[in-house]
């Protein structure tokens, strides 16, 4: 069945296709700015104490992941500062991570849950609600706008391969033509296409392309890493303290000179090996031996040289044991 191309009215282009594109862009710009304003507002009334706790947790996590890059002394200093000296009775020496006592040990777990969810959460709850409102409401209104005003006619044709008939009901909503090709779609599909496609454009045009370090710092303050609302703070602290106490300090700088020398010697030994092989092959070619023996010879040579080198390594490079 050869279909003649359908000619669409120019008015559809002027009053449907282009306006939807522009309106979508404007609405997404408004949305972004609006959410930014909301974020700034919510940032202003953040608790100082909470921020300090967040940053402590971040710091401790950094220490647990990169402990082997700092000297032993400074690691133990940090450990003493965070976890306290063992067996200290003075509360000042108990360390930063055990400074927060559990607020009230409620016997009733339901009470605890209630307190945690209601009294520490409200800011988070409202933030989530705001985000939902900002993102959902324009979407729904736009969709109903498009569906209400621009339904009932073909808006555009998709250039790519026709989708299966199953999509027809979705792509051609409001058009009751059974013989129409599936690639002709109504305005709602065009709206969806614009919605997905304009995300990239918004990324470029609306967001700040180059994040300077200052704004990075600002952002990290806006969105602190660990989610605080789920656990009471002293539990997180306890977990982190245990993590630090579990660490068996082992610097990666140990034995670094020997390793460096070892790398150097490996390279030189490799060069020697290749040289030997070359010599061997030359000799073999001169003697007109067959290839099998040649391989064997080189093999024995290389294995003997490698074993000797490992023996010397065993003498030279023993890892100093840390105690």
């Amino acid at each position: 069945m050869i279909e003649a191309p359908i000619v669409l009215d120019v008015e559809i282009r002027n009053w449907v296709v282009i306006p939807i594109l522009i309106v979508l862009f404007i609405v997404s710009a408004l949305k972004l700015n609006f959410s930014r304003i909301l974020q700034l507002k919510s940032n202003r009334d953040q608790d100082v104490e909470k921020t300090m706790q967040m940053q402590t947790i971040n710091r401790v996590r950094r220490l647990t992941s990169f402990y082997n890059r700092i000297p032993q002394k400074s690691f133990f200093m940090r450990k003493a500062f965070l976890c306290g000296t063992p067996g200290a009775t003075n509360p000042k020496n108990r360390g930063l991570l055990s400074s927060i006592a559990p607020a009230q040990e409620d016997s009733n777990p339901m009470n605890m849950m209630f307190a945690n969810s209601m009294f520490t959460d409200p800011s988070g709850m409202t933030d989530m609600l705001k985000g939902n409102v900002v993102h959902l409401v324009p979407q729904i209104t736009m969709m109903s706008w498009v569906n209400h005003f621009f339904s009932g006619f073909v808006a555009c044709k998709l250039p790519f391969f026709p989708l299966t008939i199953r999509f027809k009901a979705f792509l051609q909503r409001g058009i009751e033509l059974s013989s129409l090709d599936v690639s002709y779609v109504s305005s709602l599909s065009w709206y969806f296409l614009c919605w997905f496609g304009s995300e990239g454009i918004n990324n470029i045009l609306l967001s700040d392309n180059f994040v300077s370090p200052d704004t990075q710092l600002f952002n990290s303050q806006v969105e602190p890493g660990p989610p605080a609302q789920q656990n009471p703070i002293h539990k997180i602290y306890d977990g982190e303290r245990e993590n630090i106490e579990m660490i068996r300090y082992d610097s990666i700088m140990n034995n670094i000179e020997n390793r460096f020398l070892d790398n150097l010697s490996k390279k030189t030994s490799l060069d020697l090996n290749t040289l030997n092989n070359l010599n061997n092959s030359n000799n073999n070619n001169n003697n007109n031996n067959n290839t099998l023996t040649k391989i064997q010879k080189t093999k024995t040579k290389s294995s003997s040289s490698s074993s000797s080198s490992t023996n010397t390594k065993r003498v030279l490079y023993q890892k100093p044991s840390l105690k």
């Binding site: 250039p159 391969f161 496609g197």
Partner: protein
């Protein structure tokens, strides 16, 4: 039971591994993310441009998608040519730029492809 020679070999291998253990490289995640974002920012205008070209020429069906991949490969090779030597300084795995963000600009490409195709060839 292992043969004593095998055991010796194993020990040797372990020792070699210990000696070969170098300092693991540390990557700053923020900078990696920023670099990836830079690639994305370069890629989207290029895919938009490619979509425009495809729409004006009037590709339809599979050839349009093939054109997208063609544009993508050209973009990647331009990127690799520009930073031929230094690519490993900016990305932990320099080859990943070839396939990491294949789908990144696809939607904008399709949007502009459809838009210009409709304007020029349908109306």
């Amino acid at each position: 039971m292992l043969h004593p020679q095998q055991m010796q070999e194993q020990q040797q291998q372990q020792q070699n591994a210990q000696n070969a253990a170098t300092i693991p490289e540390h990557y700053e995640m923020e900078y990696i993310q920023r670099n990836n974002k830079t690639i994305q920012l370069c890629q989207i205008p290029i895919s938009i441009l490619g979509g425009g070209i495809a729409g004006v020429i009037g590709f339809s069906g599979l050839s349009g998608f093939l054109f997208y991949f063609f544009v993508y490969i050209i973009f990647c090779s331009l990127f690799a040519l520009k930073e031929k030597k230094n690519l490993h300084l900016y990305f932990p795995n320099p080859r990943s730029i070839w396939f990491d963000s294949v789908g990144g600009g696809l939607m904008s490409y399709i949007l502009f492809w459809t838009f210009l195709y409709n304007i020029i060839h349908i109306y």
